[in-house]
């Protein structure tokens, strides 16, 4: 009986994921009119747009990954101080929407930007330059986090062996470090490429005349309600994401997990450390400039005409409903975090703590599909699938789309944590007469509290900053705060957009600080 009840739960989770992931995507594909293919491909904008997207994404990705590689190396392979402070500061850009990065650049380097006026240099932001700088700003922290993880788990004994053999530092880098990095680096390159390729926040603001696929898709769907064209463009956006997904799956199969017998030993080297300081401090300045600009502009009466400080813009923002949309955002983020964490954790419990049956493997695969679906594509598929249902137009659909959009990473966090438990625990508990639900409540949940906090925080922060999946689904009433940025921008309410960015940064910053203290408390309890 107990196993029957368990199978029912499994079927329910499977059904939920089918309805919320697979069916909408299938419908999106079937929605495409074959004749529209030719129409889209033969339009004058089409090929230049693809070229633009590929060019801007490739340049941004190369800079982003190189910068992240340099920073990860600084933090893990030099003797600079304040490494943890640097690491936190590098990831600050993840706490604000991508569109804010675009706004930040406008405020700093636009034709009337603070730095443009201050230094008297115009970098001609709008176009390729703007897209590249903005894209690098919000994508390098993701690559940095992934690379740091790899550096951290490198085994030093191999390097010792190389030293004994008389290999120079450079030879060690070429023969050990690079080959070690190769597989994960390919996956990081594709992940970063996908992230930039599918984003419309930055190019919408600073793209100028340079049209990219996501911006075009956004305009076709939002402006012209052309869903068929939107679906075709969505398919285009899926291509790199699917490649990235397949590469990740394959590298997971290889399971190239090395055990660290000795952490990396860093010898003294003043020149190296000086270089590391330079790169780290430079990056921090780059990252914090837009944030400082947001903070500053929030209090300036009217930039650049009246530079006196006042609360005028903040008051104005509130009269325009910022408080209501902040409440929306908080409600969406909280509900998504609670429900998303619960569902993804339970799904991971099903797949990680049962035999590798076909149904479990399928569930595992569906759970990771969202990694391959850009938010803007998911959002469009939801419009097509849920239109006319009772949740359409309510806050519920925004919560649902966010749960699915950000499902894969928290799911994998839980999956990896749960896989680390002794493989015989289920067999032991079965023979002792302990039910699986009891095991979940009494053993797994108490042991994985830190993971659960991390999952919650991932959902929350991403809900606060996302504009992609929700943009087609939100309306005047249920709209989250981040979507006010493009709206205010189109009304030239620059100071108000700066204030919103700061507000989102504050909320996410507070959450991150709370998470830090909760996790430290949990570590203390464990010790």
């Amino acid at each position: 009986m107990k196993s029957k009840r368990f199978s029912t739960l499994k079927i329910l989770v499977g059904l939920f994921l089918c309805v919320s992931v697979l069916f909408p995507l299938i419908l999106l594909i079937t929605h495409i009119q074959p004749e529209d293919f030719a129409k889209v491909a033969s339009s004058a904008q089409f090929w230049p747009m693809i070229g633009n997207s590929l060019l801007a994404t490739t340049i941004s990705m190369l800079i982003s990954v190189t910068l992240a590689l340099g920073l990860a190396w600084c933090v893990n392979r030099s003797r600079i101080r304040y490494k943890s402070v640097f690491s936190v500061l590098f990831t600050l850009p993840m706490l604000i929407p991508s569109i804010s990065h675009g706004m930040g650049l406008v405020l700093l380097f636009g034709d009337n930007g603070i730095l443009t006026n201050l230094l008297g240099i115009n970098i001609h932001l709008y176009g390729l330059v703007g897209i590249v700088i903005g894209s690098v700003l919000y994508s390098f922290p993701v690559a940095f986090l992934m690379l740091t993880d790899i550096f951290r788990y490198e085994d030093y004994t191999v390097y010792e062996a190389a030293q004994v053999l008389g290999l120079s530092k450079w030879q060690q880098f070429v023969t050990i470090t690079l080959p070690n990095l190769k597989a994960p680096l390919i996956s990081i390159i594709f992940a970063t490429f996908t992230l930039i390729f599918t984003d419309y926040g930055v190019p919408l603001i600073v793209g100028g005349k340079m049209m990219t696929i996501p911006v075009y898709m956004y305009r076709e769907v939002i402006g012209l309600l052309d869903f068929s064209k939107g679906a075709i463009l969505g398919l285009l956006l899926l291509i790199p994401a699917v490649i990235a997904f397949v590469i990740d799956l394959r590298s997971e199969d290889n399971g190239n997990v090395s055990t660290v017998t000795k952490p990396y030993q860093i010898g003294p080297n003043k020149r190296r450390d000086g270089l590391a300081y330079l790169l780290c401090i430079g990056t921090v300045v780059l990252v914090s400039l837009p944030l400082i600009a947001f903070a500053y502009l929030s209090f300036v009466r009217q930039y650049p005409i009246d530079m006196s400080l006042s609360l005028h813009n903040i008051k104005k923002a509130f009269t325009l409903g910022v408080d209501m949309y902040l409440v929306n955002s908080l409600a969406i983020a909280l509900a998504t975090s609670v429900l998303g964490t619960a569902v993804s954790y339970f799904t991971a419990f099903l797949t990680a703590r049962s035999h590798r049956t076909f149904s479990n493997m399928t569930l595992h695969l569906i759970s990771m599909v969202s990694l391959a679906v850009p938010g803007i594509v998911l959002g469009l598929s939801y419009v097509l699938f849920f239109k006319g249902t009772f949740i359409y137009g309510t806050i519920m659909i925004l919560i649902l789309v966010n749960i699915i959009h950000f499902f894969a990473s928290p799911y994998l966090l839980a999956y990896n944590s749960l896989c680390k438990f002794n493989e015989n625990l289920e067999d032991v508990s079965t023979t002792l007469g302990i039910s699986r639900i009891r095991m979940l409540l009494d053993v797994y949940l108490p042991c994985t509290q830190a993971t659960i906090v991390e999952m919650f925080s991932y959902f929350f922060v991403n809900c606060m900053v996302t504009i992609s999946a929700v943009s087609f689904l939100a309306n005047f009433k249920n709209m989250p705060l981040a979507l006010l940025i493009p709206q205010f921008d189109s009304q030239s309410l620059i100071e108000a957009t700066a204030f919103i960015s700061i507000l989102i940064l504050l909320v996410n910053g507070l959450l991150k600080i709370s998470v830090f203290f909760i996790k430290r408390q949990l570590q203390k309890q464990e010790a």
Partner: protein, 262 residues
């Protein structure tokens, strides 16, 4: 189904298991006497672990019967079979103390819920862990963890305890200690034990009888002395007898069984 032959603890009749077209257990039959220590000895892949998993109900046989204390249990769920199992890698609940690990299942069973703590403490005392009650598993040595795992199983008072290579994960010095302790525990609790191993010496040291398996068949089932003196076939001679070292050979010759104390 009631079986009259009551002087046998466990009867296994014509047990057959097929995995993906391969016969893992080839219609095997054997029995176990009350208080007996039976070792199942064979190389990996011989079917010994599958046998253990079928006995306790974690795996389902294709055909055959399992009769425990006169009652057929072939189709009962694991928790209703009245057997306990100890795994090689202990599988303790990582967030619970030593006492918590032993007490947990007792608390969930109606019959033992009231006395759970007392039973757990008594069992841990008998197994020599009464001074470690509040420690977490990761604060214990491998041998200590294994003792807690055994206590957790013993506390539920099972009819038979199945041991899946419980010594192999320990380091060499601990193995000798654990072997002796297992023997002591068995005597103290008068427990019937079925012990899975691929180590010839462990089997010859511990067992009342040894069942030698290869490729899903029983090659020989007899006392250590008889197996040593009269190996049933070339396989038993090559796999088992040839691998016992000189020290054990001489012990076996004078005692009929390998035992350090004698």
């Amino acid at each position: 189904m009631e079986i009259l032959n009551s002087n046998l603890k466990l009867i296994v009749k014509d047990l057959y298991k097929n995995f993906d077209g391969k016969d893992v257990l080839n219609h095997i039959s054997f029995d176990v006497k009350p208080g007996e220590f039976l070792s199942v000895l064979g190389p990996s892949g011989c079917g010994k672990t599958t046998l253990l998993r079928i006995l306790i109900g974690l795996e389902k046989q294709n055909s055959g019967e399992i009769i425990l204390e006169g009652k057929e249990i072939s189709n009962l769920s694991p928790e209703k079979r009245g057997m306990g199992i100890v795994f090689q890698n202990y599988a303790l609940f990582p967030n619970m103390t030593v006492l918590g690990n032993v007490e947990y299942a007792l608390k969930l069973h109606q019959e033992t819920a009231g006395d759970a703590r007392e039973i757990a403490k008594r069992t841990l005392d008998l197994i020599g862990m009464s001074d470690q009650l509040d420690k977490k598993p990761k604060q214990l040595s491998g041998g200590q963890q294994q003792r807690v795992a055994i206590a957790r199983t013993l506390a539920l008072n099972p009819n038979i305890i199945l041991l899946d290579e419980p010594i192999s994960a320990l380091d060499v010095s601990m193995r000798e200690v654990m072997k002796r302790e297992l023997k002591d525990i068995q005597k103290k609790f008068q427990a019937t034990m079925i012990f899975i191993t691929h180590e010839q010496e462990e089997a010859f040291y511990l067992s009342d009888r040894i069942m030698i398996m290869s490729e899903g068949n029983i090659e020989q089932l007899d006392t250590p002395r008889n197996i040593y003196d009269h190996p049933a076939n070339d396989y038993v001679r090559d796999f088992v007898v040839a691998h016992l070292d000189q020290k054990y050979e001489s012990l076996l010759k004078c005692t009929g069984r390998i035992d350090h104390e004698k």
